[in-house]
Assembly symmetry: C2
DNA sequence: ATCCATGCGCAACCATCGGTTGCGTACTGC
DNA sequence: GCAGTACGCAACCGATGGTTGCGCATGGAT
């Protein structure tokens, strides 16, 4: 049950700042470049660029509200991203376990 | 049960090429810059640089074997990385579920 | 013992990316 | 109508992922 890994989606989520932005947006429901930058160690412009990236891969979407651009997490897309994280994790996990099993089998066969 | 997220470890795993390298190393047990580059769309030198990065965060380690440098995955460290993926995924998942629950509650209270 | 091939590292170079500062512009509220 | 604020655009900078080109050392065939 391997989800096809979308490199764009993954690398959007790969950046620590963008990850924190998603955290903040999830925690507060919505936010603007300005409100997010107040809670992050980077400038509004940097946040704004990240929002463009997140928007491009569909992880957030913007709604114009007067002079503000209010951003919100796209839950379905974030769920997809989470699925991919889980999938890669599970794949590696399975391989690690298989390696361990083989190693133990070899060990057993040698000590007998 | 939140694992402290190590940005270095995460971003090491964030690069798609490095992820594929880890896949290959896991599948074949070990490999060199040359053997890996043959199975990837990048040059040996690019692979070599990635191996340095992976080595720096402890995800692989090298063993000199004649004129070869044979690399291997550090299973414990990869397990740590997997745990972090799972952790972030779980956090987002929980938040998404909470949002959904609240949304449903609001919907219910309005339609009554 | 030699010579060729191979596996690697180093250096220069380039585009992209994450970040900054500076500036112009447009909406809001008094 | 004017001050303040939220934004976008552009220039710039360092780090990173990628390339090519080179030199060096080791291993195997003659």
């Amino acid at each position: 049950m391997s989800v096809a890994v979308d490199d764009d989606l993954w690398s959007a989520v790969g950046d620590p700042t963008r990850r924190r932005m998603l955290d903040l947006l999830l925690a507060e429901g919505a936010g603007t470049a300005t409100t997010l930058s107040e809670q992050l160690p980077v400038t509004r412009q940097a946040v704004s660029k990240h929002l463009v990236v997140l928007d491009r891969v569909g992880l957030v979407h913007a709604a114009a509200a007067g002079r503000e651009r209010r951003y919100q997490v796209d839950e379905a897309q974030l769920a997809r991203a989470v699925a991919q994280l889980a999938d890669v994790g599970a794949t590696w996990d399975a391989r690690l376990r298989r390696i361990k099993r083989i190693a133990e089998a070899i060990e057993r066969s040698q000590e007998k």
